[in-house]
Symmetry: C3
Subunit: 139 residues, 3 copies
Amino acid sequence: MKIYGEELHLKTNGFSDIHDITQEVAEIVEQADVAEGLANISAIGSTASISTMEFEPALAQDIRDNLEELAPKDKPTRHGDTWGDDNGFAHIRSTLMGPGITVPIHHGRLVLGTWQQIVAIDHDNRPRDRRVFVQVIGQ
Amino acid sequence: MKIYGEELHLKTNGFSDIHDITQEVAEIVEQADVAEGLANISAIGSTASISTMEFEPALAQDIRDNLEELAPKDKPTRHGDTWGDDNGFAHIRSTLMGPGITVPIHHGRLVLGTWQQIVAIDHDNRPRDRRVFVQVIGQ
Amino acid sequence: MKIYGEELHLKTNGFSDIHDITQEVAEIVEQADVAEGLANISAIGSTASISTMEFEPALAQDIRDNLEELAPKDKPTRHGDTWGDDNGFAHIRSTLMGPGITVPIHHGRLVLGTWQQIVAIDHDNRPRDRRVFVQVIGQ
């Protein structure tokens, strides 16, 4: 069995800013030299999420608009009132969507649809240096 | 270590059509001949999701109704306006729920509750031949 | 390769009662004696979820309030009307959030942010003895 992990670093703008990280994950899978296995992609921190989508700007804005309806950024939260950091909405979005995903590796490649990219979404209310861990396991 | 993967094919109707795939996943786990491990179940494409539920028709309709409130099928989206395929809601639902789940295998069986089934949900706006990849890893 | 799994038992109050299980998961990772790998944490049953959050009481209440807006506990459901158990909202929340997460293990430790805890959320409408399975795989 082989296990190989690496940390990605992203400059993000917050408010559910979405970054396509498919190529970076694919390069780690290549480094791992695994034909069959799993790649786990996990956001480090409590105000970000990982998912997949057809990565194109119109849909990215649709997803941001939808998250704004499900957990509005200007709606007061107990978390914001208690800690004064005004990012309760970001925590709620992150917990709802979950911190990570696991994608199969088959014939040495990530199993994804043609228009399906792996994305990191930063929900926080300010620019950040965001860390994402990719752990590959297989043989 | 053993790794064994297989692709499932489903005929789906879209609009968050829900299919119980527990038996198909269990058969792949049996093929994998693994006593302890993990089974990853991932939808291929950007308009479907995998989750678990008590699979019965009343609840399936409740979940569809709820998704319709969270991301209505008739609400205009930039994605639909840009590409003309009118399935922005399906992409939003898929990204929100995530593309896949990982279920533990213990004593050779999927670790699930008695009334907990693995389901594939197709959110797209038309019938499709949907692919789901199941990757089992363990020993 | 090493695989080690254990079942956690929690006394929960329902209505999206949130429990920090990070320490319990970390102890299982230690038992597994794995330097690099993955830890899968899965709720057993169809009315609970696993995710991560900054575990503090104000945010826990914010998350409960938000889930109450997304899937209100007093809104009639077909599931409740059919089976008379009045917990349709709990099933909807569970399917939406998903049954489990997978967290990387690196240098023998769970890869989490400083203010990021692993939580089990019981959405059901009554106190329960809730089971969570933790499966660790790695080397």
